[in-house]
């Protein structure tokens, strides 16, 4: 937000606002309030909401998407976008299904998945970072290409017959209602928090998003960082593909269709600037939980999925429009 303020020529204040004021006016705090509000609305609306097993099931709505959203957040912060993530899931899942038919066991399946995901990400990375092509067009292309390959291999058929040990990733419980996916989600969130907020790589990512030329002059290897971010997104898509395939127990080429838009929504809702240069991992975590709760709560009220998408769409536009409207109103009062 501060960058847009300076762009409009607001004078620099004499001293910073106190950490407390900054915290309660931050995006994450606003989002947290929304999350709590939705939580209580859900509790009011349905008696089944507070059941621990129901809540545990509800996490499947967002854990897989959120794992990709963390990597996507970094890509968007660096000023690029990756719309091919859902298609990478389809391709990875198809590869795993293919290997299962050859009798490959779980550890090799997961390894192959990560490899294929990384390769897909590297393909995007070479085109975007290596050749300097616009990422939105490149990834629309690879969106068609990756899922297209899945369609060529599978057609209207489906792969199933995954080994029993493979089911743990998407269906396993670590302790009581805590699923394996929840644990993985938490670990991944922590890793990405450290990567973005505690390492020089994270600082480089933010710097590139703010001004790629300045970042280059500051000695940051812009192309290399971007390439790595796309590979990372590919790997996270593969991880999500393992979880999703394990949960569904089968692979169709239409798996995870339309997820790319939901994941971008999640990231933007989390306060990441779609134009790059700003964003936090805690914001994305809360946004993921908000979206998961909205979907689950409305589901308990028998609201069809397509109507929920109206809420998600309104949420996306609303949370971005509101701060702008408020800022404008404040400026009008100020002048």
């Amino acid at each position: 937000m501060s960058s847009t303020d300076t762009k409009q020529g607001t004078s620099i204040p004499d001293r910073l606002r106190s950490p407390f004021t900054r915290a309660i006016t931050s995006w994450e705090f606003l989002l947290l309030c929304v999350a709590i509000l939705i939580f209580f609305l859900n509790v009011q609306a349905s008696p089944y909401f507070l059941d621990p097993w129901n809540l545990s099931d509800a996490t499947f709505n967002f854990t897989e998407k959120a794992m990709i959203a963390f990597a996507m957040a970094l890509v968007i912060i660096s000023g690029e976008i990756d719309l091919s993530v859902a298609s990478i899931i389809a391709l990875v899942s198809t590869c795993m299904g293919f290997l299962v038919q050859l009798g490959v066991d779980t550890p090799a399946l997961v390894a192959a998945a990560i490899l294929v995901g990384a390769a897909c990400g590297a393909f995007n990375g070479v085109l975007v970072a290596g050749l300097g092509l616009p990422s939105i067009v490149v990834t629309i292309g690879t969106l068609s290409l990756f899922r297209g390959i899945a369609y060529i291999v599978l057609g209207d058929k489906a792969y199933s017959g995954y080994p029993e040990s493979f089911a743990f990733f998407g269906q396993g419980y670590v302790w009581w209602v805590i699923t394996f996916e929840m644990v993985l989600f938490a670990v991944v969130a922590l890793l990405f928090y450290v990567l973005l907020h505690r390492t020089s790589f994270g600082r480089s990512t933010i710097a590139i998003g703010n001004n790629p030329t300045a970042a280059l002059f500051a000695g940051i290897r812009v192309a290399r960082v971007k390439f790595f971010l796309f590979v990372l997104t590919g790997i996270m898509s593969a991880v999500a593909a393992v979880c999703l395939t394990s949960r569904l127990g089968s692979t169709r080429p239409s798996i995870a269709a339309g997820w790319e838009l939901e994941i971008v929504t999640m990231v933007v809702l989390g306060g990441v600037n779609i134009l790059g240069g700003a964003g936090t991992i805690p914001g994305v975590v809360i946004a993921a939980i908000v979206m998961g709760m909205v979907t689950f709560g409305l589901g308990l009220l028998n609201v069809p999925g397509i109507v929920m998408s109206i809420f998600i769409g309104l949420l996306l536009i609303g949370v971005i429009a509101l701060p702008i409207i408020i800022r404008r109103a404040r400026q009008r009062v100020g002048s």
Partner: protein
């Protein structure tokens, strides 16, 4: 600049001819006038949408809500027709256009007045419009027998040897050509995308121009909505789902720069036809239609690599001229 753009469009046209020739070697009937005009007719809706998308992309924006707009307007016209069969069809087409323009208006206002990035706005309206279809239709289909015969007959009716559907595309092509090359508004679209700051200094209202582009793409989506529903004689929630990416793909293949300011009507039309020929040729040469998605994906990637090359070359040529002076 103009000679360069000309050559790229010609190159794309050659690629298209080569593609048709390739199919011809396997299946000569494909290259007949009747078959090719059939392909054009089949691609008409994509052409109309690509022209609207082009206007938006020229201004450095993107409209991902086109397919949802199409589906929503299509459902509205179908329900209107089912409820009041006496309503004249030309009036219904006008209503479809206005309704689409209204939806485009929403996108345009959010981009113009609130400065929200277009990709976020249209990502949001993409899901909202699609959800509204479910709300108004209650998830029900509007089937062929509920539509009046005149409603279904219009796109199939023949005029001067071509179906009316094709004529809609031809009129849109001519209209866009006049708009982009013969009017101030058309120049403004290029100026806004080419260099927004410079456009402001020449007295162009950048936000307003973008708004106009969104209204135009909305209006074209609306018309396409009627055409889609009447042609396939069915309306339901998921019609044209994911078609927005095909439309963007047609523009990219047609050499319209996603960074704005570069593109021609011929490019958009050829890009759409390229996808149309692939779609229609695959079954003819006995390749499974499941190959289509991967092939158009590869076509997008090749096109964008090629576009970037030629856009870079422009810069070099200008520099050389400057050096010579």
């Amino acid at each position: 600049m103009s000679s360069f753009k000309f050559s790229r469009d010609v190159l794309l046209a050659f690629a298209l001819v080569a593609l048709v020739a390739l199919v011809y070697t396997r299946f000569p009937e494909f290259a007949s006038v009747k078959s090719l005009s059939g392909v054009f007719n089949d691609t008409s809706i994509l052409i109309i949408l690509a022209l609207g998308q082009m206007a938006v992309i020229l201004t450095r924006c993107i409209d991902l809500s086109m397919a949802s707009n199409l589906a929503l307007v299509g459902m509205c016209t179908a329900m209107l027709n089912a409820a009041i069969p006496a309503l004249p069809i030309p009036l219904l087409v006008v209503i479809a256009m206005l309704l689409g323009a209204l939806l485009g208006c929403i996108n345009g206002l959010l981009v113009w007045k609130l400065d929200i990035p277009p990709i976020v706005v249209t990502l949001g309206t993409l899901t909202i419009f699609r959800g509204i279809i479910f709300l108004i239709s209650d998830g029900q289909w509007v089937n062929a027998h509920e539509m009046s015969p005149a409603f279904k007959a219009l796109p199939r009716a023949h005029f001067l040897g071509l179906p009316v559907l094709s004529w809609f595309a031809i009129v849109s092509i001519l209209g866009m050509f006049v708009l982009l090359t013969r009017t101030a508004q058309g120049r403004a679209l290029y100026a806004v995308g080419g260099h927004p700051n410079a456009a402001v200094y020449t007295g162009i209202n950048v936000g307003r121009t973008r708004f106009n582009a969104f209204v135009l793409s909305g209006a074209l989506s609306g018309v396409a909505g009627y055409l889609w529903v009447s042609r396939y004689a069915v309306a339901y929630v998921d019609i044209a789902a994911g078609f927005e990416l095909d439309v963007v793909a047609a523009c990219v293949i047609g050499g319209i720069s996603i960074a704005g300011g570069i593109g021609s009507v011929a490019g958009a039309v050829l890009g759409a036809l390229f996808l149309g020929v692939i779609k229609n040729a695959l079954p003819v040469v006995n390749i499974s239609p499941f190959w289509q998605q991967a092939i158009s994906g590869s076509a997008i990637i090749i096109a964008v690599i090629f576009n970037a090359r030629s856009e870079r070359r422009v810069g070099r040529i200008i520099l050389k001229k400057a050096e010579q002076v």
